[in-house]
């Protein structure tokens, strides 16, 4: 291993160690606010890791959603649920909401007209991506079903992790909702 590769390896290892440390810390710390803040720093490091891997767009999303919004939302939830003398109240809905949200909806609908028709044979996905999969999938994966080969071979890691996420959230929801019949 030459020097550059060694340094690269060290950088990888140090970033990953930080990730593991923060993730473990968020689980192990007893204080709720502390756990939320450590989770925020975990998001920072996840974003840094993405940036280090060269996935700049994912890093940006992680920074915005994980480190910025999620931390604030978690804290907001904590402060609204912690029992205190004066319970926090939800803000009343105000008229800008009634004006702003329909405007936003109209904007989204307007933008959506730009999307290609469903099943349009001339749309970019159907002219560039689909033919490639259709031509190569049997040769690459030796699976007769194209959908299965895309899901389980071309994006197998994505599918695997997505399944894990859905499975975990299912378990969590079941644990929360499940009650013993008395």
């Amino acid at each position: 291993m030459d020097e550059g590769a060694l340094m690269n390896f060290l950088a990888n290892v140090s970033l990953l160690l930080l990730l593991i440390m923060t993730a473990a810390g968020a689980v192990l710390v007893k204080d709720l606010i502390g756990a939320v803040l450590i989770l925020g720093s975990y998001s920072f490091f996840l974003a840094l890791t993405w940036a280090w891997l060269g996935a700049v767009d994912v890093a940006f999303t992680e920074a915005v959603v994980g480190a910025g919004l999620a931390t604030v939302f978690f804290l907001l939830t904590l402060f609204l649920t912690v029992p205190r003398e004066k319970q926090g109240q939800l803000p009343r809905v105000q008229w800008p909401v009634f004006v702003g949200l329909p405007l936003l909806g109209a904007l989204l609908l307007f933008v959506a007209t730009d999307l290609p028709e469903f099943g349009d044979p001339a749309s970019p996905p159907n002219t560039h991506i689909s033919p490639v999969y259709l031509e190569n999938s049997l040769k690459d994966t030796e699976t007769p079903n194209v959908v299965a080969s895309v899901l389980m071979d071309y994006r197998s890691f994505d599918t695997l992790i997505e399944t894990v996420v859905i499975f975990t959230s299912g378990i969590a929801a079941a644990l929360l909702l499940w009650r013993k019949k008395s």
């Binding site: 710390v29 974003a47 840094l48 940036a51 480190a67």
Partner: protein, 88 residues
């Protein structure tokens, strides 16, 4: 030069661990928030360093700008709630 920048990166990560100690250990909530602030400043610097390593500074600097602004919004929100929330 690339080696030097990766060296800087590893140094920064080691220093971040110290701040992390403050976030985990901190006797009060405010220590933790303060640690998070210092940490995010370092994350901004770290992003620019990574950009220099990859020779794509323009893109990474954009991220760190967004990071700095988001950090401001998040920290102000946290401070605002801690102000009349007390230690929980």
């Amino acid at each position: 030069m690339r080696e030097f920048f990766i060296f800087v990166l590893i140094q920064l990560v080691i220093l971040i661990v110290v701040y992390l100690y403050r976030v985990v250990q901190g006797p009060t909530v405010y220590d933790r928030v303060l640690g998070l602030n210092g940490l995010s400043t370092k994350a901004i610097i770290l992003l620019v360093v990574i950009g220099t390593i990859y020779d794509r500074v323009g893109m990474f600097v954009d991220i760190s700008t967004g990071y700095a602004l988001l950090n401001l919004v998040g920290s102000i929100a946290i401070a605002k709630y801690l102000e009349h929330g007390g230690a929980a």
